[in-house]
């Protein structure tokens, strides 16, 4: 059982600078301070609970500042006062904890054990040769990561680094202010005139009290708590140290030639005129050394070639200082993006990081990660790209937004990439400002570019987005269940089968997949082998999607899982039950964006079948129309200029 010691250091400088520290190994602290300066260390006490020690440290620091305002030195009286404060707040915390755990008995005898210390150590300055090889080994490994204790052990194991005493090495890094260590769950007592409360915050994911479970912990033997919100990434507990090492030194320790090589872009494709302008604008934003502009939005319609737009920015960042992170919501997208970027940057190291990835603990120039894995990075990347900012796990998820913004270095850049940016991003980054140039007569058209965003309203092949055809069918779901004909649907399927095209059929619920398949088989019995259905929980999901890509399967009935990231040439799309809440505006626009993506076949049919009128459907159609209109206005202006 590890014990944490709380002590106050009083420096020898003329201005009193007393501060409290928490340490798991006091001897390391003693030798560290001895090397720096002569000072006095006064022990306040010790406890096995890390969270408790840190909450006391906060309190002691506040009290110290108050004392310093009154008298300039810390005397015996002041120390006794600090020790008394510690004891009383331990007692208070334990009482509050006991109240929350109502009914359960503490493990040994009390919820929190605290031994008041009474020793003081006077240290004179003396130089000692310190072996720094271990630190030199650990530093670069941990740099830019925020890891729980167990994760550090895993990391060291993966990199085949063996250290005799990891605690001591880490503590030296903490004292040198190259790292920070905290409890996984922060504990504090919130006082109010009505009722004192125990406040618990997960330091890793930022969850509040309602996501945190109190528990009797056999690891520390104290009152403890764990976070249920980020449980999938390992237990963040009151007694688990959470180590944050910011990336201070620039990554480019390697010679500049290698950096230059890594940043070389080998991409043979070419941009359309609009794409070139947008890519250049994003690159300029990344290259701009001025601090302050932290966020930038690339708003490009489906099929505008968003990934390719990134290349100049990534190249710029790799050439300037180093690592780039591309975060996307889904594992499929990570696996698809990694080889594409590797092809574009053949001399850079690209890794794909997701839950079951082998490369999770590696170091690379370009990291492509799922959103949850981003939680393990801390101030690591000068450039972070957040792909599909409106997609499922990101949207309205404050944990993941926090994780992404923590992965950016101070003064680094965050680039959002989306076809349907959520309202809050539109408002903060793409809002109309006074003096902005308006296009055409349409006041309602969004702004094409500003200092914080760029909008690409047209596809790379220059042909307008297919506008969905909305049909309201009375009793749609009843008809489906009863197997009565639905003319527009059957017409679309027949037409699509006849002309050898492929068809996406989106349904709102998993159960509907089977039902629609049965419905189709009833009307097209001879074609049954060419129908397929897939949903998120399907064990054969990957095979089925592959068979659809290889055109073995012609009609794919699917839930929203195929709404993004899938490109199939010569396809149509239909939504059955577009009024259901799972299909919001963004998701309907994405579905319409499946159609007509290739230059050979830029047209296609999009059909929204709804049982009743729905606002989201109308908004989606309106958004697509606006984008087409904007693209048209831009094109005519260009022709006028030419």
């Amino acid at each position: 059982m590890r014990e944490y010691l709380l002590y106050v250091k009083v420096g020898s400088e003329s201005v009193q600078s007393a501060r409290a520290y928490v340490t798991p190994c006091f001897s390391v602290d003693q030798s560290f301070w001895q090397e720096r300066e002569g000072c006095q260390l006064h022990v306040i006490g010790r406890s096995p609970s890390l969270a408790l020690a840190f909450s006391l440290r906060e309190m002691v620091n506040v009290q110290l500042q108050r004392q310093q305002a009154v008298s300039r030195s810390l005397n015996e009286e002041g120390l006794a006062e600090l020790r008394k404060l510690a004891v009383s707040s331990v007692w208070e915390t334990a009482a509050l904890y006991g109240r929350e755990m109502a009914g359960e008995q503490p493990l040994p005898c009390d919820w929190f054990r605290w031994e008041t210390g009474d020793s003081s150590v006077v240290l004179d300055r003396c130089d000692r040769a310190n072996d720094e090889t271990a630190e030199a080994l650990m530093g670069p490994l941990l740099e830019g990561r925020g890891l729980l204790w167990e994760e550090i052990e895993t990391l060291l194991m993966h990199r085949a680094v063996a250290l005799p005493d990891m605690t001591a090495v880490l503590q030296r890094m903490v004292l040198a202010e190259r790292a920070e260590w905290r409890p996984g769950i922060r504990l504090s007592v919130k006082k109010s005139w009505w009722k004192h409360r125990l406040e618990l915050v997960c330091d890793r994911c930022g969850s509040q009290r309602k996501d945190i479970e109190l528990t009797q912990c056999h690891t520390c033997g104290q009152g403890c708590a764990y976070c249920t919100a980020c449980l999938g990434m390992g237990r963040s507990k009151c007694c688990t140290p959470y180590v944050l090492v910011p990336c201070r030194s620039p990554y480019a320790k390697r010679d500049s030639k290698a950096m230059h090589r890594a940043s070389r872009l080998c991409w043979t494709g070419s941009y359309s005129r609009d794409q070139a302008v947008a890519a250049e604008q994003a690159r300029r934003y990344v290259a701009n050394p001025r601090p302050g502009r932290r966020e930038f939005l690339i708003w490009a319609v489906c099929g505008a070639g968003k990934t390719e737009l990134l290349f100049p920015s990534v190249s710029e960042s790799l050439g300037a200082s180093g690592r780039v992170l591309i975060a996307t919501p889904r594992k499929d997208v990570v696996l698809e993006l990694a080889p594409r970027l590797q092809r574009a940057f053949p001399h850079a190291r690209v890794i794909a990081v997701h839950g079951s990835s082998q490369e999770k603990w590696e170091d690379a120039d370009i990291t492509i990660a799922t959103t949850h894995q981003v939680m393990r990075y801390y101030q690591r990347f000068p450039l972070v790209v957040l792909d599909e900012a409106d997609a499922f796990p990101y949207h309205n998820n404050s944990i993941l937004y926090r994780a992404v913004s923590r992965a950016v270095q101070p003064g680094g850049k965050l680039l959002y990439l989306s076809a349907t940016p959520p309202r809050y991003l539109q408002k903060s980054l793409a809002a109309k400002r006074r003096g902005a140039v308006q296009y055409g007569a349409g006041r309602s058209l969004p702004l094409v570019s500003s200092s914080t965003h760029v909008l690409l309203p047209g596809r790379y092949h220059g042909i307008a987005l297919p506008v969905p055809c909305v049909v309201t069918v009375q009793g749609l779901h009843k008809r489906l269940k009863a197997g009565r004909p639905i003319a527009p649907l059957i017409g679309l399927v027949r037409e699509s089968l006849r002309s050898e095209r492929q068809l996406f059929l989106f349904v709102p619920r998993i159960d509907d997949v089977e039902m629609v398949l049965a419905y189709l088989t009833k009307f097209f019995p001879s074609e049954a082998s060419r129908f397929g259905g897939v949903h998120a929980a399907d064990p054969l999901r990957e095979d089925k999607v592959l068979s659809f890509r290889e055109k073995r399967c012609r009609v794919m009935v699917t839930t929203t899982i195929l709404e993004r990231g899938v490109t199939i040439a010569g396809s149509d799309a239909a939504v059955i039950g577009a009024e259901v809440a799972v299909f919001d505006e963004a998701s309907l626009v994405q579905i319409a964006g499946r159609v007509g993506r290739s230059a050979d076949d830029p047209a296609g049919t999009v059909l929204f079948l709804q049982a009743e009128r729905a606002a989201a459907v109308r908004a989606a159609v309106k958004q697509i129309r606006r984008m087409n209109q904007l693209a048209k206005v831009l094109r005519s202006r260009e022709e006028g200029q030419a």
Binding site: M1, T215, H218, T219, Y226, G232, R235
Partner: protein, 257 residues
Amino acid sequence: MMTRCRCVACAGRIVPRSRESAIRSLASQLSQRTRYPVMYRLVAGLALCASCLEQLPVIGAATCRQCGREQAAEGLCQDCHKWTGETLQSNRSLLRYNEWGKNLLSTYKYRGEERLAALYAELLAIAVHRYHHAAAFDCIVPVPLHEQRLRERGFNQVELLAGRLGARIGVPVRPLLHRTKRTAKLSQQSGRTAREESMDGAFSWAGEHLGQAQADSHRILLLDDIYTTGSTLRSCAKTIREHAGSMCHICSVTIYR
């Protein structure tokens, strides 16, 4: 009764109306007619959604009389024929250990999702009501973890269940055992005999003396999360028998078999 409206296994929404038929069929499968109301209430208390309830892999009516394994006919199974002079009277389990169970149990044990303890305790209560009378036991003994394993994991998964089950069926929990041997994880051991050998003498008596008067009529319920080869539970039963006298009656209940 339902505190959360989310299924604890699949995080899906719990719709009481759609659950009803699943609850009824499961409850009638688990009990005779006279005890149906009790079973119905227990099953309804599970925080599972309709589809999870339907696919709950409950062990059928015909089981091995000794180890509780599901089989075609009543009687002893192949493995149990070998054991003679058994100290463990019988083992009963509620669920088959399939892929679903594996995932859920590893979320509980290895991920450390302690909230699942409530669900598992309910399942154990169902198992006790299905195979025994609730008042058939004097005490519950959870299988202990080795001290070092306990410190790594932070909690003893069986002890949490025992506490909740004890409160549910009104039987006191007594930690009668210590684990003295640190055995490798089940998944890292190979073979039944290796397992038997490693578990031999893995437990010791924790020293709490039972009242001498009751010692010969003591009915003990051993509790564990899973019965694989049964060597853990047999080793526990042997230790208890050695210290609590030859007349005590030891049964075990586990979640998975």
